[in-house]
Symmetry: C2
Subunit: 321 residues, 2 copies
Amino acid sequence: MIRERAIIARLRRFATDPAARGLLDDAAVLGDLVITHDSIAEGVHFFPFDPPQSVGWKLVAVNLSDLAAKGATPAAALLSLTIAGDGSWEEAFIGGIEAACAHYGLPLVGGDTIGLPAGAPRVLGMTAIGKAGPRVPPRDGGKAGDRLWLIGSAGDSAAGLAQLHADSNARGPLVEIYRRPVPLLAAGQAIAPHATAMLDISDGLLIDALRLAEASGCIAAIDLGAIGLSGDFIEARGESLEARLFAATGGDDYALLAALPPRIDPSTLNLPEATTMACIGSLQPGPAALKLSVRGEAVATPETLGHEHHGQSAAPVADRP
Amino acid sequence: MIRERAIIARLRRFATDPAARGLLDDAAVLGDLVITHDSIAEGVHFFPFDPPQSVGWKLVAVNLSDLAAKGATPAAALLSLTIAGDGSWEEAFIGGIEAACAHYGLPLVGGDTIGLPAGAPRVLGMTAIGKAGPRVPPRDGGKAGDRLWLIGSAGDSAAGLAQLHADSNARGPLVEIYRRPVPLLAAGQAIAPHATAMLDISDGLLIDALRLAEASGCIAAIDLGAIGLSGDFIEARGESLEARLFAATGGDDYALLAALPPRIDPSTLNLPEATTMACIGSLQPGPAALKLSVRGEAVATPETLGHEHHGQSAAPVADRP
């Protein structure tokens, strides 16, 4: 964790171009393009037994989620493919890439293919390029007084992952969301022009909220009781405080967290009809921190807020510089 | 080899956007930007004992070489970093990235950092984005009658690699070129407006010449005797036909191969002063093939033309879709 923070700090020393946005964002802004790169590794971000089609789908989805958080429209992708076996896994994986590219109108325009030493875990990457909308919300623009809105729900994917850890043959809607997350592109595009700050909560709602707060120089006050939980999640894990903390720290959600001025009500913003959204708190003046509560009662901030770094076990999503 | 060809053919089935250029090129063209991604893997493209600074430098250089072949000017890069140990290797690697980015005026604007399972070979990637010049030469535009020009020399890097295979402590100019190749950016920019086709010969002069010939639907006739060999190369391996075939198939050269109409003499094109260049043959009408000669005598085409796929041993460069 510290190791990775040190490395990102090291990168920041020379990533001083304005397009880099101080490596605070999950995407770079270059002219009217938004550019992001996410990689996933076998045994870290996906299980060796995950269906390769779903791994391909997920690689596209996690990259598009970064574009969604910037309100960008998918324009092109480059695939970084490693080949580690006889090619049949990769063939199926590419089927998943193709399906997701077709579904989201994302043209594959290039990339590279390399071989790996026998037995090496697969590492797969994608560079996704989006066309910027009228405004590309940063991570650091939140203002005290803004409301924090969660677009989409939290916890489903972590609950699915837990089911797979318990039983690699687990099936069901939560496993499906873990394997095939949905990037909230249309919602991101609708909200981006109004958001003072926005990001996707792929590492966990709490850690990403803290990052937004730190970048914006505010306190993020979050009402855990307001977090939208899906019916499937509640069925699997209930809606106790413990379950809510699990949902808020589990990560691998591709929901959006937006800071919006109080006058903006996202339900008036032409979001897709079935979009879950909830005001889960606000930004408050004060030194960057999280302030958690439930039904007005303060809740201690848990030690682990989400994923900072996935080094050893199958787990969802990585930090990005 | 066939495995990788099949996979690239599979990708082509849906990479139908014009920006993809049929996945024939090493870079995509998106508006006025040229975008490329190259990854390198430990034990495949570099030795575990290579100095990490040089690996960082090389990752930048191999990506910039793809921009050079398109005549583009470096504009931005995203780094895909894996962390596999205590972070000290990565720290030094980033030093090499920083040095090369500074040297070539390449702003680092984003990327991602992920952890790998313990013991996994490192996989490092870069997406390089360049500003297109007035013309972005494709791979498939060569015409019968064009002359083939080699800008830069061939074989140095393969000779350095051979020295390292024999002795991991080998040092000297050839090892240095293997570890710190020089992308021919200024030369590429000067030649691109005139080239009917151009590519860098990172996989080997002969295999890349055949690719140019196949894409352009011509015979590539190459005079092995005309290939520029450096003094260091000649000192190490001589200039026999065997040495010339070694140079022409060794790969990991970041020289440029350009097809130019006969009226164009690249020595008049304002290339940097010390640029090595030689007319090494021509494109001829006929079904795509290589036709090799030396001093007017036909030479049989060797079985291995360069690197199609590096799966098991430290070796220089991968195929790209």
